[in-house]
């Protein structure tokens, strides 16, 4: 149940928030080309305090590779290009299938796979796959986001300071 005068945010600087009814299961979220830089690897290691010689020095693949969790953001960008979902992250399934090398383009493609309502909140699930220039899958992921922290019995209203739409950089 929504508490007090709680509302679900109606809009933010990037426009109206996505409405549950507008989310189309099966929708192709499109694709993007993503190239990891050495600076991106350094930043991911620093943010996560996750350092390993293969991230910072070299690997048997012939050079540095990125921490696999660096794949979080590009699929999220695909969702945000299609739907302004702020909410919170609920579930993360992933497979680290291949080394994520710097300066090598990765094609990231996604689609909406499900949506549902549970315990008064609205959920959307999407999946994405990353493939390298040779067509090999380097990661697969499936994500679930809750559209709003406030339950769906609350009306929409007001303008949020945050947004589901972010600058597309790590």
């Amino acid at each position: 149940m929504a508490e007090g005068n709680a509302v679900r945010i109606a809009e933010d600087a990037h426009g109206p928030r996505a409405d549950f009814d507008d989310i189309e299961v099966g929708r192709d979220l499109g694709s993007l080309e993503w190239t990891i830089s050495v600076a991106d690897i350094d930043k991911q290691c620093r943010i996560d305090e996750d350092y390993d010689p293969v991230f910072s020095l070299a690997s048997t693949q012939g050079g540095r590779i990125a921490p696999p969790q660096i794949q979080y953001r590009p699929p999220r960008w695909l969702l945000s290009r299609n739907y302004n979902v702020r909410g919170v992250f609920y579930r993360w399934d992933f497979e680290n299938l291949g080394p994520l090398k710097p300066d090598a383009p990765i094609k990231v493609s996604g689609r909406i796979v499900d949506k549902w309502i549970a315990r008064g909140r609205e959920y959307v699930s999407f999946e994405a796959v990353g493939t390298d220039a040779d067509g090999r899958e380097v990661f697969r992921t499936r994500r679930t986001h809750v559209l709003d922290v406030v339950t769906r019995d609350a009306p929409r209203g007001g303008r949020g300071l945050d947004s589901g739409v972010k600058s597309e950089k790590l």
């Binding site: 996560d48 048997t60 919170v88 579930r91 993360w92 680290n96």
Partner: protein, 141 residues
């Protein structure tokens, strides 16, 4: 250097934990106000206070898996995580894990683990499973 997990690992083996003290400064990106770094932005979204960025909290699990499995996690790792409770932006959080299963995968062994992140109050904020490949033929990163 700590020895990596191998195919002889016993079920029930617990990993050394990985902890982190978060603070709101960790979630600032220039002057952009988000529910991760600003009280008002969080309240507008229905939160009592800013919450930590979920992937940055999950990264405690990833670090734990990398420390225990090395290349068998970096290439070959899998995970399924549920974010069931918030970790606040100023929380202390700890990742823990225990080996629960092993299975043959091609000519390698996949080691399956229960993993979770608990807050200072003991609440399990993230729960799930992760797995990694071990064995002499595990794809090297």
């Amino acid at each position: 250097m700590a020895r990596l997990i191998d195919e002889n690992v016993h079920l029930g083996t617990e990993f050394p934990s990985v902890s982190k003290q978060f603070n709101v400064e960790m979630f600032k990106i220039g002057d952009v106000l988000t529910l991760h770094n600003d009280q008002k932005a969080a309240e507008l979204e229905g939160l009592p206070r800013p919450i930590a960025v979920a992937p940055q909290v999950a990264a405690l699990i990833f670090r734990m898996m990398r420390m225990n499995f090395g290349n068998g996690w970096i290439v070959g790792g899998k995970g399924s995580l549920t974010f069931r409770r918030p970790v606040w932006s100023d929380d202390f959080a700890t990742a823990r894990g225990v080996v629960t299963g092993k299975m043959i995968e091609d000519d390698r062994v996949r080691v399956i683990c229960d993993v979770w992140v608990e807050r200072a109050d003991g609440e399990r904020a993230i729960v799930g499973t992760c797995s990694a490949l071990v064995g002499s033929t595990a794809r090297a990163a």
